[in-house]
Every structure is written in structure tokens, then in C-alpha cells.
């Protein structure tokens, strides 16, 4: 109920724009991954967008959209089909579950929430990869830190976009 109320505050164009932004994040993450080839860490941008938009505009960020984008990321990154999908699903679910608490909290709390959720998801992913005998990146903590930093930066841009598409 509260979710629907919050969504009614935004213009419908946001429903089109958010998927585009998330898709751009997938592509950008892939391109940055190529540019940063040789670095031990990876900048994972999709969870940044999924968590933010699922938190603030959930109707523009359906679970199926997040899953499809994550599966595309699986295809691009070469990981087993469904690994990123499951991780993003969990993150999306967590964002929706914690929405009532975080949406009216100070932004620092949002960052903290994202950091904790991302840590849980990345740890789980690393564990799954280890169980499946896949190459595990032990610099996952650095990747986590960079992704949290990217969340702080991108959130500023997302905030600007969100406020631009708010109804008067």
C-alpha cells in the first residue's frame, strides 16, 4: 500500500527511464571491466541501480527486469547462467523488504543498508563459486568497497533524476 502511494508521486516516464538506466549500468560495468582489465577487483554496477531504484521507485524496477538484466550480466561475464541472477534477485528482494525502514531514513542509513546487503550477497556468491569449484576472487572485499563507493556517487545522479521526474 505504502509502495503504491510512493510510486504515485512519480511521472510515468520514469517506468521507461529506469530500465534504460539499469541496462546502461550493465553495459557500463562490462566496458569498465574491460578497461580495468588486469586489476584484481571488479566494479559491479548493476546492484547499485537495482537496489536504489527498487528502494525508491519499485514499480519502475520490477523483479523480472532485474532478473533479465542479471542474466545478461551472466552471459557477458561468463559466469554460470543464473549466478548473478540469483544474487540480484536477493538484493532486489532485500531492497523491497527494507524499503519501509530505509526510504525515510537519512542517506547514510541507505548507504549502510546497501553496504550490508551487498556484503551478504557478494559473500554468498563467493561461497557458491567456491562450492562449484569456480575461480574465486579473494579481492572481493576491494570490489565490495568500490561498489559501495560507486553507489554513493551514482546515488547523487539517481537522486537528481528522481527529483526531476517527481510530480509537482
Amino acid at each position: 500500500m505504502a509502495m503504491n502511494q510512493a510510486n504515485r508521486d512519480y511521472k510515468p516516464f520514469l517506468n521507461f527511464m529506469v530500465p534504460m538506466v539499469l541496462f546502461v549500468l550493465v553495459i557500463l560495468g562490462y566496458v569498465l571491466g574491460e578497461l580495468l582489465d588486469g586489476f584484481v577487483f571488479k566494479l559491479w554496477l548493476l546492484p547499485v541501480g537495482v537496489f536504489y531504484w527498487a528502494l525508491f521507485v519499485p514499480t519502475a524496477t520490477p523483479m523480472l527486469l532485474a532478473l533479465i538484466l542479471a542474466l545478461i550480466e551472466d552471459g557477458l561475464s561468463g559466469t554460470p547462467f543464473g549466478l548473478h541472477g540469483l544474487a540480484i534477485l536477493v538484493l532486489h528482494y532485500m531492497a523491497l523488504a527494507q524499503r519501509q525502514s530505509l526510504i525515510y531514513s537519512p542517506f547514510a542509513m541507505v548507504i549502510t543498508g546497501f553496504s550490508i546487503n551487498l556484503a551478504v550477497v557478494m559473500s554468498a556468491m563467493t561461497g557458491v563459486m567456491w562450492l562449484l569449484d569456480l575461480p574465486v576472487n579473494l579481492w572481493v572485499i576491494v570490489s565490495w568497497a568500490f561498489t559501495v563507493f560507486a553507489f554513493i556517487l551514482l546515488s547523487m545522479w539517481f537522486n537528481a533524476l528522481r527529483h526531476k521526474f517527481m510530480k509537482d
Partner: protein, 270 residues
């Protein structure tokens, strides 16, 4: 920590999607072909988008390189000018060295180009006076020495045999006053005549081109046009240019101990 406010519909949706993800994961691990086909599909579909996204970064790289190139072009130009100057200096030096090398090569070849079988001989009598410059060798007719044969040492032209005896021979040195040798100045490629002075110098008495600028240090060799001396035998180096042009012989006539007689057939030459 935080209260979960989520509808049952989302829970079911999440459960279904998560189940499918697990199934996909298991299938892609069990059947790598499926995973590879899916990845191939995703990559081929995404390629145009990825290329389009990469374009700005490629343009940025190109612009950056272009700007950097223009900024550094002044320094690079200056560096290239300096380098060019150095190279030109090196080329000049190289030409000098090459010329010198050619001269030295010619000088080295002179001894080799002497016809006839060489035979070394010790100088047993060194008669040099104000009136004549000759030496006596310890080999003569018995060893194949003939009148007119050329005598050299390791440095260059010594003279020629003017008298032959059974066991000895007399050699007229090029420093003798009666000696005349057709020569050329190697650096100018100008021919002339050198005569002895009965001293340890030679005198250039004639050049075919009187306008040439003869300088000290120029190398003088035989021309070979007289048919007696082989061409390019080292004679000496010009060391005094004035009213008379003097040549310092390459051979050290003050200490002539061993010489080499080129035992070529002289019939038809003299």
C-alpha cells in the same frame, strides 16, 4: 533490525525466479554447452550496443592522443632538429672516415697488388750520401732478382733494382736524386712526378693540373702508368707546401734493414 514489509505476491515471485535461477545454474554447470550457447547469444546481441558505448571512450582516447601529440610536437621538433644536426655531423665525420678508410684500404692493397713472387732480403750495405741513395741486398740473380724489379717494405715503396749480381743486387732508393716516380695525390686524384732529393724528403716536381690546391697531409701513391711500379703503392705524405712541395716518405729510410723484392718478369718492361 529492520521490519520486512513485502507482499505475499512478491514472496511467491521471488521464490519462482530464485528456483529458476538455481535450475539455470545447475543446468549450465551440468551442460556447459547450454551455458556457452547462452553466453554466445547474449554477447552477439549486446555487441552493437557495447561497440556503441565504447565509441566515446575510443574517441576520447584518440582526442587525448591528438592533443598530447600536438603539445609535445614542439619538444619533439626541437629534439629532432638536434638529432638531425648530430646526424649531419656524424655523416660528415663518416665521409671523412670513409675517405680515410678508402685511402688506407688502397694503401694496404698496394703491397698485395704488386706482381711477382716477393722475396725478403736483408740490407747488407746502406750507401746513402749527398750524391746517391742506394742499398745492397743479400740476394741477387741466383734467387731470381732482375734489374728493374720493384722493392718495397711493409710501409711502402722503397725503390727499384738497378744492378744485379749473382748473390747481391743494388737498389736505387726513391730518395735518390736520379729517381723519378709517376705518382698521384690520392685526395685530389691528380697525377704528378716525384723525384728524390738525396735527403730523406721527396719533391713533387710536376702536377698535371697546376690549379689544384695541394694541402699538407695528402697521400701520394704510385700511378702505375709507367709499367714499372704497380699502381697505388704508398709513396709518402705531403708535409710541406710552399715554393716547393715536399713529401715525407712512408718508408723509414734512416733505418732500412729488411726489404722485399717483387720478382716479376721484367722482359718487355725495361
Amino acid at each position: 533490525m529492520q521490519a520486512l514489509h513485502i507482499s505475499k505476491r512478491y514472496n511467491i515471485q521471488f521464490g519462482i525466479y530464485a528456483f529458476f535461477c538455481v535450475v539455470f545454474m545447475v543446468l549450465s554447470i551440468q551442460f556447459p554447452g547450454i551455458n556457452a550457447a547462452f553466453q554466445s547469444f547474449v554477447v552477439s546481441v549486446s555487441t552493437p550496443v557495447l561497440e556503441a558505448v565504447k565509441k566515446p571512450s575510443e574517441w576520447a582516447d584518440a582526442v587525448g592522443e591528438s592533443v598530447t601529440g600536438h603539445v609535445s610536437v614542439y619538444e619533439e621538433n626541437k629534439m629532432l632538429r638536434d638529432e638531425l644536426s648530430d646526424k649531419q655531423r656524424l655523416i660528415r665525420d663518416l665521409a671523412i672516415v670513409e675517405n680515410e678508410n678508402n685511402s688506407l684500404k688502397k694503401l694496404l692493397n698496394m703491397v698485395k697488388e704488386v706482381n711477382g713472387k716477393p722475396l725478403a732480403s736483408r740490407v747488407i750495405s746502406d750507401k746513402k750520401s749527398a750524391f746517391s741513395h742506394t742499398v745492397i741486398t743479400h740476394i741477387g740473380h741466383a734467387k731470381g732478382v732482375e734489374k728493374g724489379q720493384v722493392v718495397v717494405d711493409e710501409n711502402g715503396l722503397v725503390g727499384r733494382v738497378i744492378e744485379v749480381f749473382d748473390e747481391t743486387a743494388r737498389v736505387l732508393l726513391i730518395t735518390d736524386y736520379t729517381s723519378r716516380i709517376p705518382v698521384k695525390i690520392l685526395d685530389l686524384n691528380v697525377r704528378g712526378i716525384v723525384r728524390g732529393t738525396n735527403s730523406y724528403n721527396l719533391e713533387l716536381v710536376f702536377t698535371e693540373d697546376e690549379d689544384v690546391k695541394i694541402e699538407e697531409g695528402m697521400v701520394v701513391v704510385t700511378t702505375g702508368i709507367d709499367g714499372l711500379f704497380p699502381a697505388n703503392l704508398p709513396v709518402g705524405v705531403i708535409h710541406n707546401v710552399g715554393k716547393f712541395i715536399y713529401i715525407k716518405p712512408d718508408v723509414d729510410f734512416t733505418n732500412l734493414e729488411f726489404i722485399t723484392i717483387q720478382r716479376q718478369k721484367m722482359s718487355g718492361v725495361l
